[in-house]
């Protein structure tokens, strides 16, 4: 089982992932990070771990890993 991991401390709030997500699983509702940027939140029920957010993110916020290897 694969899972989307969000590294919020890297996020700069550009929203490229939100407009490119084919399942509209990402929203700008995550907590504000240490640099003061709004961050994203994923709806795990909608996410199909396609990897598009990983590909469009300029700040390497997303990784898709096996669930047990998330640490």
């Amino acid at each position: 089982m694969e899972k989307l991991i969000i590294h919020r401390e890297s996020c700069k709030g550009c929203q490229y992932c939100i407009v490119n997500c084919p399942k509209e699983a990402l929203t700008m509702t995550g907590p504000i990070n240490i640099a003061g940027y709004m961050t994203t939140e994923v709806d795990a029920d909608k996410c199909i771990t396609c990897g598009i957010c990983y590909n469009v993110c300029p700040d390497y916020v997303y990784e898709i890993l096996e669930e047990e290897a998330k640490a």
């Binding site: 401390e9 700069k12 709030g13 490229y16 396609c50 990983y54 300029p58 898709i64």
Partner: protein
């Protein structure tokens, strides 16, 4: 489909929110890893936003004087012909200050790869006009818009180099997942041309610069799709197998 951050990107970069440099950094890192060239790769950067890379990018990097990255890359390649050598430059760096170095590396068909980030201005120094600034585009040194009767028309490097005997030329952009995938393919072909000793390869990438364009990142991508691409058409110009 597992997606893990490349080991070359060992620390977060320092580029502005929505900047395309971050995506290009990742694409180059992935291509080098896929080709098993990440250990021996050597990068030449000059001055500009690319000069933030030596702190954050995990390949050997030489920082040269402003504009001279292509000449430095040529020197490295001649001394170490088995290593993958590339220069990573912006449009102001490669096409204004380093125009001579960029052109003569291409004229001699030197066996290097040039990654050219075109964001239509000098990004790091505060958004001054560069040779690729669009007609009527406002910058800090053209506050009423670029006057082409005074400064000449925007420079299209693909048309210039299309007349030369070089191995590979392509122009991509980063506005959506489709274009990012295509751009990665172009970068891969450029490095393969170098590996096959075919000669000079250049990939120009139209990149959003939200900070200096005064736009949100999403509007900057729309601006590339609607305006910039009409001046700088995308695609493979030479060596693409057409």
């Amino acid at each position: 489909m597992k997606k893990r951050r490349s080991k070359i990107l060992y620390v977060d970069h320092k580029f502005c929110p929505g900047c395309g440099h971050g995506i290009v950094n990742r694409l180059v890192a992935e291509v080098l890893e896929e080709m098993n060239e990440d250990k021996g790769a050597i990068c030449a950067v000059a001055v500009g936003c690319s000069s933030l890379m030596p702190d954050t990018y995990g390949v050997d990097i030489v920082q040269s004087q402003h504009g001279r990255a292509a000449a430095v890359a040529v020197g490295i390649k001649r001394c170490r012909p088995d290593n993958m050598v590339f220069s990573y430059q912006g449009d102001g760096d490669a096409l204004a200050i380093g125009f001579s170095e960029t052109m003569y590396a291409a004229i001699r068909n030197e066996n290097i790869t040039v990654i050219l980030i075109n964001n239509n201005n000098f990004g790091m120094t505060g958004g001054q006009m560069s040779p690729t600034t669009l007609e009527n585009q406002r910058t800090t040194t053209s506050p009423y818009g670029r006057d082409v009767s005074l400064t000449g028309k925007p420079l299209d490097v693909m048309k210039l180099m299309g007349t030369l005997d070089v191995a590979y030329l392509a122009r991509g952009t980063l506005t959506d997942i489709k274009e990012i995938t295509k751009t990665k393919k172009y970068i891969r072909k450029a490095f393969e041309a170098q590996k096959n000793k075919a000669g000079y390869s250049l990939v120009e990438i139209l990149s959003p610069c939200p900070t200096n364009w005064g736009m949100t990142p999403l509007n900057a991508c729309k601006h590339i799709n609607q305006v910039v691409q009409s001046v700088y058409p995308l695609g493979e110009y030479q060596g693409g197998g057409k």
